[in-house]
Symmetry: C2
Subunit: 409 residues, 2 copies
């Protein structure tokens, strides 16, 4: 297999560790003798406009490598571009393969989630169709943890660690007045409740954790929600509840839609959500007369690199590194996956897997990991997530603030 040049891109919503995967691709490709490692700006969409950089211009030494691991959001920029089918728009594919040919690219890596794996699937299939020897490999990334086949996904562990840490702090704050208070915390995850469930990790020796957890996997019944709160209220005056942004009523409507005149859609047709916690906080206050507050973790849960999981950082790097090794062994149309060997001690194996069987599939929380009344996650859920938040990677602090690596144009 010729070593050749490398093209790497980042796609979809950023995470706190997506740049660790980028470093994994860059460093491994360089170590294995690849001449040039190009980074596409804003994913495949930028590449189609020939926007790319030579990563060696920005990652100049080992300090830069460590700094980039500590930099949140997508260093190269990202996109939400849906690659059309080759049969519909052959000119897009012609243009893309022309650019790759011009740059003498032999290996193409795309770090992303479901939608990004759709891109890898289409490009690798097209390469076969036209007899191109360029390899196309996917590097898993998503805070949502909803990629199929792999045990878990880089980005999830750090988001879970942020959510559990912030929940501990919020619960401590909520208890300080000793007066009645209902706190509803909104967590990301459109259809998969992995992140919302991670709020349960805040239940530790020094914290009771949230009282209720509502995942998007289960229909949200408002009346039962009110009854549950009134039940807990009998023995506890502060109640903390984690809710998914994607909660739906039994008739399939988003809870937050009751609160918003318009719900926007992105280019994949995903509804842009938000407002579930504030809506429920207002509703429950009106219903019960108890003071309430809604807290939305919002963007911070995917970019709080100041409190990442070291294990997540390491695994994100490994996913990038392994993708390069697989590609240089001639593999294509695959994504790196993790297989869990054991929880205690935590052990995983990595391998590569056919991206056709991963793309566009969403892995949700299995029903057996949700309690019967749909208001919490099970012990097994906790045992699955807890190893993923272990370990810290201190930010590089300059003048009291975390330092990041950036592209100055």
């Amino acid at each position: 297999m010729p070593v050749g040049n490398v093209m790497v891109g980042q796609s979809g919503g950023p995470t706190s560790v997506i740049n660790s995967s980028l470093v994994g691709v860059f460093k491994t490709a360089k170590d294995m003798g690849c001449a040039k490692v190009y980074g596409m700006r804003n994913g495949i969409e930028g590449l189609l406009s020939e926007r790319y950089v030579d990563l060696s211009d920005y990652i100049r030494n080992d300090l830069d490598i460590e700094l980039l691991k500590r930099t949140p959001s997508s260093f190269l920029g990202t996109c939400r571009y849906k690659l059309p089918e080759a049969t519909d728009k052959p000119e897009v594919y012609d243009r893309l393969f022309d650019i790759l040919k011009k740059l003498e690219i032999k290996h193409f890596f795309y770090i992303g989630g479901n939608d990004s794996m759709d891109t890898i699937k289409k490009l690798s299939n097209h390469a076969k169709d036209i007899g191109s020897d360029i390899t196309f490999m996917g590097v898993p990334k998503t805070i949502d943890n909803d990629l199929a086949v792999t045990d878990h996904t880089p980005g999830f562990g750090s988001a879970a660690k942020y959510i559990a840490s912030a929940m501990k702090e919020i619960i401590r704050d909520a208890n300080t007045y000793g007066t009645d208070l209902i706190t509803i915390v909104e967590v990301m995850g459109r259809n998969a409740g992995w992140l919302t469930g991670a709020a349960a990790l805040s239940r530790t020796e020094d914290c009771a954790g949230p009282d209720l957890i509502y995942l998007p996997e289960c229909p949200f019944e408002y009346d039962k929600f009110v009854s549950k709160i009134q039940e807990i209220k009998k023995y506890k005056n502060t109640i903390t509840i984690a809710v998914s942004e994607g909660l739906k009523t039994p008739d399939g409507k988003y809870v937050c839609e009751a609160n918003k005149a318009a719900v926007f859609e992105d280019s994949f047709g995903h509804k842009m959500l938000g407002g579930t916690a504030l809506y429920l906080a207002d509703a429950i206050a009106a219903e019960t007369g108890i003071k309430s507050r809604g807290i939305v973790f919002s963007t911070l849960q995917r970019c709080a690199s100041h409190i990442v999981s070291r294990r997540d950082i390491t695994e994100a790097f490994t996913a990038g590194a392994d993708a390069v090794q697989a590609a240089l062994n001639g593999e294509t149309g695959k994504m790196i996956i993790f297989e869990r060997i054991s929880n205690e001690p935590y052990q995983i194996l990595t391998s590569s897997y056919d991206v056709n069987l991963i793309a566009n599939i969403e892995k949700v929380v299995p029903q057996e990991w949700i309690t019967d009344d749909n208001t919490y996650v099970s012990k097994e859920f906790e045992q699955y997530v807890r190893p993923l938040i272990i370990g810290e990677l201190s930010p590089f602090m300059v003048d009291g603030l975390p330092r990041h690596l950036f592209i100055d144009k």
Copy 2:
């Protein structure tokens, strides 16, 4: 002066370092020979119901001391109880002084902000009136930094550090798509814009910082706000704006009131605010057609002990420690204040100051530290705040999460 027993309480909104002041009081009182250090549960309100603990039961060794410094929110619980005038309700004072007498208290410390200093003022004045020799000292605390006379207030530096760090992460996230986006971030501070202004600290070598900052000190004119955004939009596609929760229109109405049917008031008559960022984000999206998002830092800015300022922790401890020393020297009716000697190198002196000249006064950002068009803070503002966010104190991490000290009842 007899050493005697000590009573200490925490009042008002919690901060990330209020427990460091508690440790400062506890450790110094113990070191100076005070027999018992009692902590009132939920401030003066709890004490009136004889709810207190012997702090030695909970702070048992040096590890507990370090753990308590790293614990957010008020360890003892807090309250927003407004002490009536002694002439109106003498029975409240009689009851309080009876309890103090029963416990052989010689020194009373209250860690809090404006309203808490009002309590110290009333109690110390009453002690004089009745010839009690109990000393009453205030230990400054507020993320809002709005206490008069003192250069700054413990709690502010850590909140400022959180805000500036989170702003850096949010701005990096906002830039990743390369598409048009207006992000409006809401910061606490009802009447004083110190915390909102601290968003400017995110402007560093690796971050452009927010584009606009709106403080509650200046009337908020919506039309000018729109014009400013349209001006910036000509050369920049992502715009980030920090706004105070307390922004008011020129006719004196809260901006968020336009969005809320009801605005609640707490027992001091302060309006409970919230909704400014979401309201403005919706309004600007409707006005300009540009995608927008509102982010509310909410509770986390006052309880994110996982990213405190070490200088703030140290100064909070010092404020508690110095209050004890002053009290044991016979001082009463005073609050510990900081005087800044120089910015570079950063040097402060601490002393004590008549609480009658501090209580119930709000210190706002001076007009000369706000730019002429009311859309940013000056260089002098930044030079004032930056030293306060310096240094880190790593949380004690257990199984991937910050550990806290707590009272188990």
